[in-house]
Amino acid sequence: MSELIDKALKRPNLAVEIAGIKLRNPVMPASGTFGYGEEYAPFLDLEKIGAIVTKGLSLKPKAGNPTPRIAETTSGMLNAIGLQNVGIDAFVQHKMPFLRTVNTPVIANFFGNTLEEYGEVAKRLNDIPEIAAVELNISCPNVKQGGIVFGTDPKAASEVVTLVRKYLQKPLIVKLTPNVTDITVVARAVEEAGADAIACINTLTGMSVDIHTRKPRIANCTGGLSGPAIRPVAVRMVHQVVQTVSVPVIGIGGIVTPMDALEFLIVGARAIQVGTANFVDPTAMLTIIDGIEQFCIDEGIDDIHQLIGSLKF
């Protein structure tokens, strides 16, 4: 009897380590859906989540794409924000002061339009002590190579990771695009080039048309599809990548409920990111953390590592 109470009172350990940084739990926001953290501070306690992931940063401020930039689709949304961000200087000056007051690891997501730019940003981020890790977004077109997306070509992906690695002492997470024939090839390439962890997936490229105006519903014509619609594709890719690499994997794509997050953990994601769901419910991450904890209690799991990768297949 007292054993039962003991068990009920002992909370399961949800802490995980990704690329050398310790997270109090495996739940964090996906880049671009949580601003610079401050935007959501009125709605949830930022010290309850595992980490804060910033909007993608670039060397110079970036204005982003023409509007309309977003459109809802069935159980998903398209976005073509165009990586609008304040740039690294303004980030340090205007966004870091707030982030410093929060006792939660900050992961800076970043990108470049050329190989060199990737290197430059990496150098700059490496010098900011309060940044716990960086997340490298390679789903961007390489303007010098005629716009082919870095992340769709294993060679280009490897090159950019190698370069960034050169400038970076901090843990390096590389975020993959799902718009590829075989994600394991890219995953292996970036692991070999020095990634400490892999995050997947970014958005699937999609399009939607306003039948009355006969124009694409977003000005950029195509956009990135996110939300629950893409979850099965994301779970599949995370599963494939976990089977391929030995660095930890962060699962992303369509996570709204605790059950969704658990699917990713079970296939082997060591942590997960919540994107579009933040828009739907700003407290979604807290519900997910509580739900994971309750699931562990219900299933008699005292450490989340017993759950991670426990897929039976």
Partner: protein, 299 residues
Amino acid sequence: MLMRHSLIRESKQIMKNYRTKIISNQEISPGYFRMKVLAPGFGENAHPGQFVMFRVQRSLPPLLRRPFGIFRTGFLPADCDGLPPVEFVEIVYKVVGSGTSIMAELHQGDRVELLGPLGNGFDCTSRQGEKILVGGGIGLVPLYMLAGELIENGCSVRLLMGGRSRDDIFAVTEFERLGVETYISTDDGTLGEEGLVTQVLERKLQKYPAAEVYSCGPMAMLNAVHNICLEHNTPLQVSLEESMACGVGACLGCVVKGAGHTEEKPSYLCSCKVGPVFKSQYLDWSALAQNNSDCGGCA
């Protein structure tokens, strides 16, 4: 209603996600509904021109929340002596698509969620003078609280209400009760003057050349209002309706081009955070007029 600030900083601290329920939901004109939602503490933080992000139901669809202007806030008498009065926020919406169709089916007691008050509302600190409010269809919504505030401040307020037909005109009595002088025009002449609300604006500006104008409505109307005000050198504030995903400045989906925007030096303003109300001189009107031509949602 007395202590309000147009500073973003302050309203930011007190916005909240209300998990709440519907007090009432009624059709007030064909296709237009008024919904009162229980929201304790909402009123003292809400500023004219601010909005809420409304979550229709816990299940999909729709996936994203929908933005709605705050029509008014207030108190209903308590259900029972000894209980505090019931604070509500009221929105008025037009059924245009999937989300608003589901909303129209909701009943008293149904659970909903709303995030707010959000955004930067009208600058209405001015303590006197002539104010002309121009509202088209559902664009009347944010003008009600604005009118109330302006009148409280001692201004004289005229409201030009426009719509396609009489069905698009609502809340006339409420506006008049505030002490607003109302002028109605409809495209088809089924209510008030036949023609565009901008004709009326022309006349009023001739009569009150020192007036300030506040406007909300379809982009074509706002654009015309802007041009008239430009001509008359009249200060104008407009409330815009961009598609939104987050409503809190996190997704950058809702931006509009700022004045002076160029391909080389682009300037995008977040309409959920810097707006939805903008002083007209800060906007790039040529871009606005174009980009929003496909917004068929509003009257």
